[in-house]
């Protein structure tokens, strides 16, 4: 039976400009009560912007929003929450030094204010968590929680405030395949209880798996809204990207395998931080001309592994050899000189100095090279030349080489970092989530670059939380969980994804029975 329901939420002709450029251009979105609505689009398509407008973080430049038929405009998240709309962001808004319970009630005047009845509150929280299948311990300190647990706290935070419409921004990015299944059942439960959900995602399989309808955004405009049952992956992909995406062909490896000397040899690497074993007996070898992908859920030691290899952190135990030379006691500069390159997802803190120009940022790599430094003096002509070459070779859009790097887009910044790090033909590239947050053009570029280097004989250690990316690019795949590299498999036709999923949650092969 079809009845025409008045939509719960209706956003009409929404416009939003940033610095004159349209982030949202005449977007209209309709969400019905009790539906799970996927908002699908690649990075930079405008999904988060649209939802931030709804949630009161951004102001809109044009258009109207109707909630239950009445026009609304939210000037702060607090107002949105009061009207029953809540959002869980990609980066959680929790205070790590407070307990789960304190975070959930933060900003609410509980009974007994200002001296709250913590026991009663905790009981209420336990009730909620049972009802929806969201397991949390109210007395736990947030800093000790896993990412999945933090996400549950965020959702309970909204439910505690009687939120009807939940907006979830890329919620599965931080979950293992098994946790994703569990997460979907929570969503179904929420739906049963009468809540509506907007799911912001760039992953088509998810949108297909759980949503009732999908709205596709591309370049700030709404492309289409379809019923999930009436569409398929290919159509969504085409709508999302605007063309048929050609998968990157990895091709066969150029060099032979185990017979060669390993470029990077990591043995029994341990890293302790505040008594916690962030890395435990990590061992693997990286050979010439291959990409070793390390998969895993974020927060299981990936960052620590990359930083120990780079030299930012000193491993507590174990050895690292680069081209046969032991480097675990060497400085970052020495390791880079020996042929190590590093690219991460954090351009702001790891990769660039935002207030310096392109030439000076290029200098960050070549400041030890004799070609560019003569008697301690910087040869700016040589540096400028090589920077210009990099800009044209990598197609970097910049207002000149003397502009501060801050003005470049994320994708162009990453291209600059890549160009710079690849100077001097490094033999090992450590890439930590190198495509995170970039637009699809830049993502493709970075991935292609890594393949090209690997074809030329370079070794790439690709640490990523994007399983698709790992599967697409890696010759061999290792899985990280709780600081351990569980197993390393060859990435060929018969690879068992379920097995990888289990490893990501920590089941080793022996435990699997």
């Amino acid at each position: 039976m079809t009845t025409i329901h008045m939509p719960l939420l209706s956003m009409q002709h929404i416009d939003k400009f940033f610095f004159g450029k349209p982030a949202n251009n005449d977007i209209s979105l309709e969400v019905r009560a009790g539906e799970i609505h996927a908002l699908l689009g690649e990075n930079g398509a405008g999904k988060s912007t649209l939802m931030n407008i709804l949630f009161g973080i951004y102001s809109l430049d044009g258009g109207t929003i109707y909630l239950k038929g009445k026009e609304v405009k939210f000037f702060s998240p607090r107002e949105a929450i009061k009207s029953g709309i809540g959002m869980v962001h990609q980066h959680f808004m929790l205070v790590p030094t407070l307990t789960v319970s304190e975070n959930i009630t933060l900003g609410i005047k509980s009974t007994g204010h200002p001296l709250p009845d913590r026991k009663k509150i905790n009981d209420n929280i336990r009730q909620l968590s049972h009802k929806y299948g969201l397991d949390v311990d109210p007395c736990a300190l947030v800093s000790k929680l896993s990412v999945g647990e933090e996400q549950r706290v965020e959702i309970i935070k909204l439910l505690y405030r009687d939120v009807e419409l939940l907006i979830l921004d890329e919620p599965t990015a931080v979950l293992t395949p098994q946790e994703i299944e569990r997460f979907f059942s929570v969503l179904k439960r929420l739906k049963e209880e009468g809540h509506s959900i907007i799911l912001i995602t760039h992953r088509i399989p998810e949108a297909m798996a759980i949503s009732d309808r999908v709205t596709v955004l591309r370049n700030g405009t709404r492309i289409a809204t379809v019923n999930t049952t009436e569409t398929n992956k290919e159509e969504l992909s085409r709508l999302m990207i605007g063309r048929n995406l050609k998968p990157i062909v990895r091709g066969a490896r150029a060099k032979a395998t185990e017979k060669d000397n390993p470029r990077l040899d990591v043995k029994e690497l341990d890293y302790l931080e505040y008594g916690q074993g962030k890395l435990q007996k990590v061992s693997f070898s990286l050979y010439p001309g291959e990409i070793l992908g390390i998969a895993g859920v974020d927060g299981n030691g990936q960052k620590e592994l990359a930083e120990c290899i780079l030299g930012l952190r000193k491993a507590t135990q174990g050895t690292i050899s680069l081209n046969g030379v032991r480097i675990e006691k060497s400085s970052v500069a020495e390791r880079k000189k020996l042929g190590l390159a590093y690219v991460s997802d954090d351009q702001h803190h790891d990769g660039l100095v935002m207030d310096m120009n392109l030439v000076e940022n290029y200098l960050l790599r070549v400041h030890t090279y004799k070609d560019y430094i003569k008697n301690g003096l910087i040869d700016y002509q040589a540096c400028s030349r090589v920077t210009e070459e990099a800009i044209s070779a990598y197609n970097i859009k910049a207002p000149g080489i003397n502009a501060p790097v801050r003005l470049l887009s994320g994708g162009n910044q990453q291209k600059l970092i890549l160009a710079r790090e690849l100077t001097g033909n490094p033999s090992v590239i450590v890439a930590l989530k190198p495509t995170r947050g970039l637009d699809i053009g830049a993502v493709e570029f970075v991935q292609k670059q890594l393949i090209e280097r690997r074809n030329e004989g370079c070794s790439v250690l690709l640490i990523s939380v994007d399983l698709e990316e790992i599967l697409m690019l890696s010759d061999r795949i290792g899985v990280m969980n709780r600081g351990r590299v569980i197993e390393i498999l060859d990435n060929n036709e018969g690879i068992d994804l379920a097995h990888i999923g289990l490893m990501m949650t920590g089941h080793t092969f022996e435990e699997k029975s």
Binding site: V332, K336, L364, H367, G376, I378
Partner: protein, 345 residues
């Protein structure tokens, strides 16, 4: 539009400063016109006045350069005052130990000694910051008080002039005097040294790789580390150079003006240098001009005091107010805007 805004805000700041100054002068009961004329006459009215401005600017340029280098690298050197005194101590000790060395050896030696002792005085807090993350702000301030008291002890004990009852060192050997440039003014070679230092610092920071590294560390410590630049080494280096330059300022005052060590050779130069560095936007050229400007303020206010009885504490009020107004004017786009986020990572 932005240009107009700039002019407008600068005009408002100048207006506020002028009004406050007039208010303070009249509250004391002095004749405003007489005081203000006295102020400007003190600076521009005579050749001597102009030379005094440059004399006063000399230690401010040197210490200001030191503070500016520190700021650029992320080392907040509030200890220039103490480092000036340490430089003065070094100059005194060396001068008294080797009075018979010819000037072309003794003077560079004295300058080197002042640089090293002043640098040492800053390196201790620098090391504590680089190695342990201890706040250099509090440490350098404490070291100021300690240094001033060390001078007090020395001029009453081991460095005391036996011929005079007052606490001060014996007169220093002529061989270490910084030559007077324009007799009968007090202007001495120290001013030239200050200008040369500005040039050297400019070359260091913008033309040499060592300076590039220091600037990178100041703007993005973590990013620098990822690129193989040692934050630890560069903070140490910056603190050494920063303290060293302040130390040379102390040498300059001793060897160019006072010719002996006594208390009070620095009426807060080290603290004023912070304001100079700020006004000069931590750049050598800016520091030179800001130092001259502030020195003019000081010279003018002294004349104002002598002629109209206006207390010199007014200059501190004005300087503090000026910095506050400028801070309010400059919003987020300051020299080290990323530094704030890095500072507590």
């Amino acid at each position: 539009m932005k240009y107009l805004n700039n002019i407008l805000s600068i005009t408002i700041i100048i207006l506020i400063i002028v009004l406050v100054t007039i208010g303070l002068i009249s509250a004391i009961g002095s004749d405003v016109t007489k005081a203000i004329t006295g102020f400007f006459w003190g600076i521009f009215g005579s050749f001597y006045g102009l030379s005094e401005v440059l004399v006063r600017a000399t230690p401010l340029i040197l210490a200001g350069l030191g503070v500016a280098i520190g700021f650029r690298t992320g080392f907040f050197n509030i200890g220039a005052e103490g480092q000036i005194y340490m430089g003065a101590i070094a100059a005194t000790v060396i001068g008294l130990e080797f009075p018979n060395l010819p000037p072309f050896i003794l003077i560079p030696l004295v300058i080197l000694g002042g640089f090293l002792l002043g640098g040492f005085w800053a390196v201790i807090p620098g090391f504590l910051k680089a190695r342990f993350g201890l706040s250099e702000i509090i440490n350098t301030i404490m070291f100021n008080y300690i240094a001033i008291n060390i001078v007090g002890i020395l001029v009453r004990t081991s460095l005391k002039d036996p011929n005079y009852p007052l606490p001060m060192s014996p007169e220093l050997p002529e061989n270490m005097y910084l030559q007077q440039l324009l007799y009968p003014t007090r202007l001495h070679i120290g001013f030239i040294i200050a200008l040369v230092a500005s040039l050297l610092i400019y070359v260091l920071m913008w033309k040499m790789v060592a300076g590039f590294k220091m600037r990178a560390v100041g703007l993005n410590p973590r990013g620098s580390k990822c690129s193989g630049i040692s934050v630890y080494k560069n903070i140490l280096l910056a603190s050494l150079i920063s303290g060293g330059l302040a130390g040379v300022a102390g040498v300059s005052e001793i060897a160019g003006l006072h010719y002996r060590l006594l208390e009070g050779i620095s009426p807060g130069f080290g603290y004023i240098a912070i304001i100079v560095a700020l006004l000069g936007r931590n750049h050598p050229v800016g520091v030179v001009f800001a130092a001259i400007g502030i020195a003019a303020l000081q010279v003018g206010s002294i004349t104002m005091q002598v002629q109209s009885g206006v207390p010199t504490s007014i200059s501190w009020i004005i300087m503090g107010l000026l910095v506050l107004l400028i801070l309010a004017r400059r919003t987020v786009s300051s020299v080290n805007s990323d530094q704030k986020e890095e500072a507590t990572l």
